[in-house]
Chain length 205, copies 4
Amino acid sequence: MKKSDQTKENLLKCAEKAFSKKGYYETQVSDIVEMAGVAKGTIYQYFSNKEAIFKILLSHYLRDWEKAIAVNMNDYGGKNPGIYYAQEYLRHRLKKTSDFFRENQDRTNIILRIAVGVNKSFETIVRSFEDKVLNVIINDIELGQRWGHISRDFDLDITCNAVLGAVLRLSYYYFVLKRKKLSQTEQDALQNEIFKLVSNTLKMG
Amino acid sequence: MKKSDQTKENLLKCAEKAFSKKGYYETQVSDIVEMAGVAKGTIYQYFSNKEAIFKILLSHYLRDWEKAIAVNMNDYGGKNPGIYYAQEYLRHRLKKTSDFFRENQDRTNIILRIAVGVNKSFETIVRSFEDKVLNVIINDIELGQRWGHISRDFDLDITCNAVLGAVLRLSYYYFVLKRKKLSQTEQDALQNEIFKLVSNTLKMG
Amino acid sequence: MKKSDQTKENLLKCAEKAFSKKGYYETQVSDIVEMAGVAKGTIYQYFSNKEAIFKILLSHYLRDWEKAIAVNMNDYGGKNPGIYYAQEYLRHRLKKTSDFFRENQDRTNIILRIAVGVNKSFETIVRSFEDKVLNVIINDIELGQRWGHISRDFDLDITCNAVLGAVLRLSYYYFVLKRKKLSQTEQDALQNEIFKLVSNTLKMG
Amino acid sequence: MKKSDQTKENLLKCAEKAFSKKGYYETQVSDIVEMAGVAKGTIYQYFSNKEAIFKILLSHYLRDWEKAIAVNMNDYGGKNPGIYYAQEYLRHRLKKTSDFFRENQDRTNIILRIAVGVNKSFETIVRSFEDKVLNVIINDIELGQRWGHISRDFDLDITCNAVLGAVLRLSYYYFVLKRKKLSQTEQDALQNEIFKLVSNTLKMG
DNA sequence: GATGAATGAGCATTCATTCAT
DNA sequence: CATGAATGAATGCTCATTCAT
């Protein structure tokens, strides 16, 4: 890794910490450069302006989350999910999302709280993230309904938004608010509990 | 109503609209006074500064929400809720909360999105709102568990946060994002659907 | 005294207190009207603006001081001051000035400290006061020199300014800084001591 | 000298001129930066606010005056002041103070007139300056009294304040009001005249 | 690439003054 | 005459951004 790439990465890391801690407007560019140990002018060698830095953080987050939840057949370890694969996919996606949130607490805080309500331009990105998560849920549920192991006895729009809200709130509550460093066992238990809730909600079976 | 009280109310109303539309930092004091049709100095006759205006909006919201969800025995119209009153209380609270959100879309947007992530001082108020809603849910569910018509077969912390997340997301989705002016019938249907979800989740009955 | 005259006098009295305590710029018009117990607009019925109020205070001070130090032959009680009347006049003037300062502490503070260094327009008035006091000293000393009982062995300009500085500093020190409420006896002792000093300085005899 | 130090010095110099000419409140920050030929923001790189600039000017003045009047044995050029050293010290101090005033007319104007009566915070600094000069006079006179060449036949408090007032007034009169650029000979004559006055006053000898 | 001094548009806030009631 | 709500010019200060070194 080149020195200049290191500087850039470091600046992004510091920006992430600073924004997560103080919010977009209350974070000054000087906070970031001081934390990174470089001069004021340096940050403008790598990023065109403060807004751009924030947007890069958001887009990297989206990119990395998408990578993280992509279904990898190896995850099933050759075990055929059988007819319940829609259910398994959803479980997988929610688990991966939850893992991703746990491992990226500052960035999760940024997209769930910091970027919210700032301005139209950030709002668009935040919504696209929310929509992506929502669509994952919708797709998997629709699949499950088509295969018959998820009830059709509820409004899809309402249900999926409810699941989305529940998942995001729990992520925020455990990983941002409490900043719990859950052990893998605890994390598994949490994920099971969440999925049980969702299953009840969806009257899966 | 005195002229000066009118001016103050008007300024708060305009501040509400402006903050809801553009966010805290992107709203200038001049936006508010222009919308209200008064001079710059006037706003400082009524409020000590921009931050104070925002905090007053938040605290009024909390105050009004608490008033709105207070259990009023007349709401049951003489119909005895019987042994299911915990369940009825929760339904009542969720219904009132949902009604309140529908009727206060700008203010709901402010507390659910605009005030979030701005700074420590607003954060405290937002959290106290989230905690209040959470406690309503926790209390009613614990009551239901004690009376035996809500299962004890789940983690209270996780479940209540899930319900909170679902309720807030749905409120945001329907009343802020879509800004649907739901008819009372549609609103009732929505509330029923939500409560059905929650019931399934809680394996009530 | 008419009610409106009373209001005007009262406003001047309050302005005097406020300016003396906080300085010209740090005193707000609202401080004065609050102290006087009238509405904001009322003060503009009596005075054209803040500056005018301050100038009136200064000019009244000058007017009253001049009245106070005017030689009144009755003060000598028929006792002929003889050939030392220049010396007696100076003693009389310094005594009257000192009495006047003692009895008008807020106003003395205003002319000696508050009005100083604010702006050109106040400066002119302050200087005219200083010049008047200086001229009294110069005139009496010149008289004494002409009559032969005050030495000519010093620079008039320097000496008179020295005497002026001493007198103003002592006034400020005892009546403003210490705000001593001297008894008449103490005040007499102070005046004697001051005059002894001046006599030594002037090698009077 | 670094560029940034030059800018800072220059800003202080311009602030000194501006405050001396127009007073504290009538001097705008923009007056200072325009005079210095820099942008508005630049001044805030060096000073936290307008008040801080003024206080720095005052404290530098005190610091420099103390340095200027410090007794340096070389000033006596090997000439032993003998038993009259208290008298010599006082003469030395008054001379140095007078020299300092002559060479720092704007700053002297600031501490003697501009800073006076503005607010409590500046007042404290001005008083500490007056007290320091007063103490110099008191100490040297007490020393002279103990050694017997200054009379004990007067009130110390009154006398020292009189001398202080005389010295400050003469400084103000010659160096601020007249802004005379006295030649060294004239300055010496003035100092002799002042000291003669003080000697008479104190019945030294 | 890195630096940090300099920039200046932009913003919140103040406060003497006005004027309709 | 008295009121006090409304005014708006004026000012101090911030902070993202630039650019000469």
